[in-house]
Symmetry: C2
Subunit: 313 residues, 2 copies
Amino acid sequence: MYLFSSILGIFVFDGNLNVVDEILFSTADDSKNREKFIEKIRSRHKSLKEPDEVIAKKILLHFKNRQFFGDFCNKNLQLTKSDVKNSVSDDVLLIQSISLIDDLDKAINLLVKRLREWYELYNPEFSRAVEHHEKFVMEILEKGKNELLNEISLSPLESFGADLEQENLEPIKSFVHQVFDLYQLRKLQENYISALMDRLCPNIKAVCGTLLAARLIEHAGSLRRLSGMPASTIQILGAEKALFRHMKTGAKPPRHGIIINHPLVSKAPEKMHGKVSRALSDKIAIAAKVDYFSGKFIGDKLKEGLEKKFGKW
Amino acid sequence: MYLFSSILGIFVFDGNLNVVDEILFSTADDSKNREKFIEKIRSRHKSLKEPDEVIAKKILLHFKNRQFFGDFCNKNLQLTKSDVKNSVSDDVLLIQSISLIDDLDKAINLLVKRLREWYELYNPEFSRAVEHHEKFVMEILEKGKNELLNEISLSPLESFGADLEQENLEPIKSFVHQVFDLYQLRKLQENYISALMDRLCPNIKAVCGTLLAARLIEHAGSLRRLSGMPASTIQILGAEKALFRHMKTGAKPPRHGIIINHPLVSKAPEKMHGKVSRALSDKIAIAAKVDYFSGKFIGDKLKEGLEKKFGKW
C-alpha cells in the first residue's frame, strides 16, 4: 500500500496501483496543511509507505488521465491566488507607506513654493520672515495678516503687500488648508509606519529611528533580504552608483549610503563618518537578523553601545 | 509767478524765485491725483505759468537744500510701496491660480500613481478596470471592496487582492481622502479663474474656454501684453523653442503653441491645423484687445464665426 499526495488530495494505492482510498482537498488551505489529512488516512490503513522512484513514476502515469486536467488547473490557480494574497505582508505595506511619505514630500514642496509665491502678493514680509515651510503654513492658516505682521513687529501700513478682497483671499485660504492637510497626512503615515515597525522590526527601529529604518527596508526590498545582508552591504545601501563607480574606475569607495541620515553619522565630524557608519551598520545587521527571526528586544542595548562610543559630538 | 509741482507738493514761485505759496502732499494718493491741488492753487493766484527750461533749472536748485532730502526719500518710498501694492491686479492673481492648477496636476498625478500601487495590493482587479484617475478615486472613496468587485462582475473570492485588516486599511483611506480633496481644490481654483475672467476678459474666455485663456495670459505675462500681441505671435505662444529652431536652422516653423489645446484645433485633421490655428489666433487677438480696453461682449460672435467655418470635423 502506497501513500501519495498531490495538490488534488491524498491517495492510497494498492500493490496493483489502483486507488483504494482518497481524500480530496477542497480549498487552497487544505493542500498547504496536508499533514493532518495524511495522519487521518494513516489511521485508516496500516503499513502505508512512501512509493520509491520506480513506483512513483507509475503512479504519476495514473494522473495523466484527462479527467484530472481540469482539476489540476483549477487547484493550481487557487494555490497561486492564495500565494499572491498572502504575499502582502507587513513589510510590503511598510514600503508603500514610506514611498508615500517620499511622494508627499515632493508634492508638499511643489505646492508650498507655489503658495509662497501667491501669498507674497498679499503679505511678502511674513513669508520672508518665516523660512520653515510647515511653520509658515500653520501660522497663515490660523492668523490674519495684521496679526502676522505684528509678530514680526511691522505695522500693516508698512507692508508692501496688496490689500486683497475677501473673494480673492478665499482661493488662497482653501489652498493653505489643503497643504496643511497634506502635512497631517504625512504625520499620520509616520505613525502608521511606527506602529507597523513595533510589530515587524522593533530592534531596527530602536537603532535607526522610524524613517531611516523604513528606508533601509525599502532599499533592501524586504525585511528578509535586509536580514540576509552583511553589515558592509547595509553600510552602502543607497550608494550603489558610487559603489559601481568605485569598482569601475577605482574612485574612492562610498563610506555610507542612506545611513548618513542617522544623527550619529551626520553629527560626527567629517573624517569620522566612515568609522561611525561601519559601527552603525554592524548594529543594524544584528538588529535585522534578530527582528527577522523574531528574537527578543535588544535594540536599546545596541543603541546605547553606539551612543556611548560615538555620541560625544 | 511760476507753478511747480514735485512729489512733495505744489509750489508757487515769484519772479525772484522765492516760494510764496505751497500745498504739501500728505499721502501717496495725493501726489498721484495732483490735478485737483493744482486747480486749487490756480484759483488763489492769477497769471500762473509753467517755468521754461532756464527757470526750471533755477527752481530745482532751490530743492537741493538739505531740508528736503528726508522728505524726498520718504515720499519716494511711499510712492513705490503704493505702486507695488497696486501692481497686484486681477491678471496677476489669475496667473497664480493657473500655475497652481498645473502644480496640482503634477502633485495629483504623483500621488494617484502611488495610491494605485498601494491599493492594488488590496484590490488589483478594480484598479486595472478603471483607468480614469479621478473616477477611480471617487469610486474607492465611496464604496467597499466587495461592492467594487461586483461592479466589474467579479466575486470577492476571485480577487487576487490581499484581505487587509481594518488597521492596514485606515492609512489607505485617509490617503484616498486627501487625493479626493486635491481634486476638489482643483475644481475650486477653476471656478475662481472662471469668475476672475468674467470680470477681466470675458471675450477671450468665450473664444478659448477658461483654462486655455488663462494659459495664454500666463504665457504673455499679463492681459496688457497679450492685447498688444499680433495674432501671429499669439498663434505660437508656448512654441518658442520650435520658433527659434526655425529661425536658426531653417526647420519648419511651428504652426501652433498652446492653442493646440483648443478643441477646434485639436479636433481638426492634421493638415488643417495650421489654417485653424491662424484663424483662431486672429479671433483671440481681437478678443484680447476688446477685453483690455473694456469694450462690449463680442466673444460669442467671434466663437460662432469660427465654429461655422471649422466646426464640421
